[in-house]
Amino acid sequence: MTLYAFFGALEQGFAYGLMVIGVYLTFRVLDFPDLTVDGSLPLGAAVSAVAITAGYSPLVAVFMACGAGFAAGMVTGILNTKFKILHLLASILTMIALYSINLRIMGRPNMALLGQETVVDWFTRFSGLLPQHASPVLFAIICFLAVGVLIWFLHTELGLAFLATGDNMQMITSQGVNTDSVIIFGVGLSNALVATSGALVAQNQGAADVNMGVGTIIAGLASVIIGETVFGDKTIGRALIAALLGSVLYRIAIALALGLKLGSFAITPSDLNLITAILVVFALVMPKMKRKFLAGRSK
């Protein structure tokens, strides 16, 4: 792997870092498998692209994307809690609705941001770093800031209710907490993070595309699982950082797969989906194997 490819993997890992943290919050904390993300990622991209072309500053565009994502997540949450639609189905409904909404927002399937000022350009000029180093550094700073805020939030009263809702809904309801509100807020928060990630990705790659969300949930779950396996999840803070670093490891694995050649046997690009699947299975099976191995030795 060349240095460029390595920095490219860091860049992608952190650009999608907020998305992975969002997926962690719903999938692991709330125990809510949320497919809205396949729609809210391009939603963030679309909103930010339209805002930038309309003349708003790229930073404002990111915040607008964040708000739009929060609203989208709330819709899924409301469908699930108030209309009693199964969480999986509720999120699929929001996801397919977002496809049309994203097309409406942009007025076309692909909106170019080439030549437009983005947060990456700002940071490159401000920091004086080379372009290929500036974007991973900027995205890493944003991700670690977000993790910091989340750790603080999860130790507030609302945050604790949020953690408890996924663990034991009956217990928390008997404590007088309105779990419906917690779920609506939680799925909203998760999708706010995902849409912010989408805005950053669009500004980084030079275009928002209505199809850019395809496979987001797979990448998100793969990253969460890899992160847990490699870095552990003893405390909530550690789990969040593990999810973020899992996102980076996942992209490094893909970079390796893209450049892999073993003598005359070269991995062709068509093997990439297979490699992703193997990677996730491996990450899922590893902890069990380790436990078995340790148990066997202690006998």
Binding site: T2, A9, Q205, G206, R251, I254
Partner: protein, 315 residues
């Protein structure tokens, strides 16, 4: 000993390249594997070989994944190629955002101006980018429709509103149809499983069905063929491969030829031309394919002059 061996190998390598002339590195990025896109890639390679240009091809395909598509750009930067060949819009956009020095040649991009790749068609704006557009020659498509179904007043079109190339194609179709006093009825789909339903919805609303270069619809064109055959509704398409799959006719870009012409552009740039001063090119050499069996099944008789003109006739 190991060091001497290494040194010898290195010396041998340097000597061999020095004798063979320069070997250019061409890095390729392509969004998916798809017969048309692959044909363009092979066309470029064949033309470079014909011209005796020594090159290595580093091919990267994103499997339709936009994140991988962006990551490929970093892979390419690491390869430090002499030229980047970007096939289809997403790869070209991602490269244009990050690569500012190395020349980029795109091909198979329908609308390079609205994709933000070039300022305008004649003048790429002094940048490191130029290439070829596969924009459908819609005036010729409408002329073909009129030749096959002279009495038609309304054209029905099936397209995916989420595909970047289909939206400008639809606009062009409406413009060209209006010029000859025809109107357009639309049926939009979101994925290929909707083609059958969309085709059915057009029955009774139009006199002829047209399907352009829309990847989603084309991937399931057989369902449109079935509906059109059942309802004696002529089906004209925008790509020649769909004619063999049951449509009546198409006058269209041959993607392999497009690759050859792109190869000419690549060769000129490798030999020192400045991409910033090269206008975007189009393929003027079009192929006409007709399918006699399909025409009969859909209730039309093709004019003999049309069949005589065809590059390929399917009996």
């Amino acid at each position: 000993m190991k060091r001497i061996f290494l040194f010898l190998t290195a010396a041998l390598l340097v000597a061999s390249t020095a004798f063979a002339g320069k070997t250019y590195v061409v890095s390729v990025t392509q969004i998916v594997e798809h017969p048309a896109l692959d044909a363009m890639r092979n066309g470029v390679a064949d033309r470079l070989k014909e011209k005796g240009i020594d090159f290595t091809y580093n091919v990267h395909i994103a499997q339709g994944n936009m994140a991988t598509n962006t990551q490929i750009v970093s892979q390419i930067m690491g390869e430090q190629p002499d030229l980047v060949l970007a096939i289809a819009t997403p790869g070209a956009q991602a490269c244009a955002q990050k690569i500012k020095e190395t020349p980029i040649v795109f091909t198979g991009v329908t609308d390079p101006v609205s994709a933000g790749l070039v300022k305008d068609i004649q003048n790429s704006g002094g940048t490191n980018i130029t290439g070829m557009s596969d924009f459908s020659p819609m005036d010729k498509h409408v002329a073909l429709i009129r030749e096959i179904v002279p009495a038609a007043k309304t054209i029905g079109i099936i397209y995916n509103s989420g595909e970047p190339n289909s939206v400008p194609n639809l606009k062009a179709l409406k413009d060209e149809a209006a010029k000859v006093g025809m109107s357009v009825e639309e049926a939009t789909i979101a994925n290929s499983s909707g083609v059958y339903q969309a085709a059915k919805s057009l029955v009774g609303r139009c006199d002829v069905v047209y399907i352009g270069t829309d990847n989603t619809v084309v991937s399931a064109i057989e369902s449109a063929v079935k509906v059109c055959t059942d309802n004696k509704l002529p089906l004209v398409v925008g790509d020649v491969d769909s004619v063999a799959r049951g449509a009546i006719a198409a006058v269209a870009v041959d993607y392999y030829k497009m690759g050859l012409q792109t190869g000419d552009m690549v060769a000129r740039i490798l030999q020192g031309a400045n991409p910033g001063s090269m206008p975007v090119e189009f393929l003027n050499d079009l192929n006409l394919h007709v399918n006699l069996k399909a025409a009969q099944a859909m209730g039309v008789t093709l004019p003999e002059s049309l069949v005589a003109r065809a590059t390929k006739v399917i009996e």
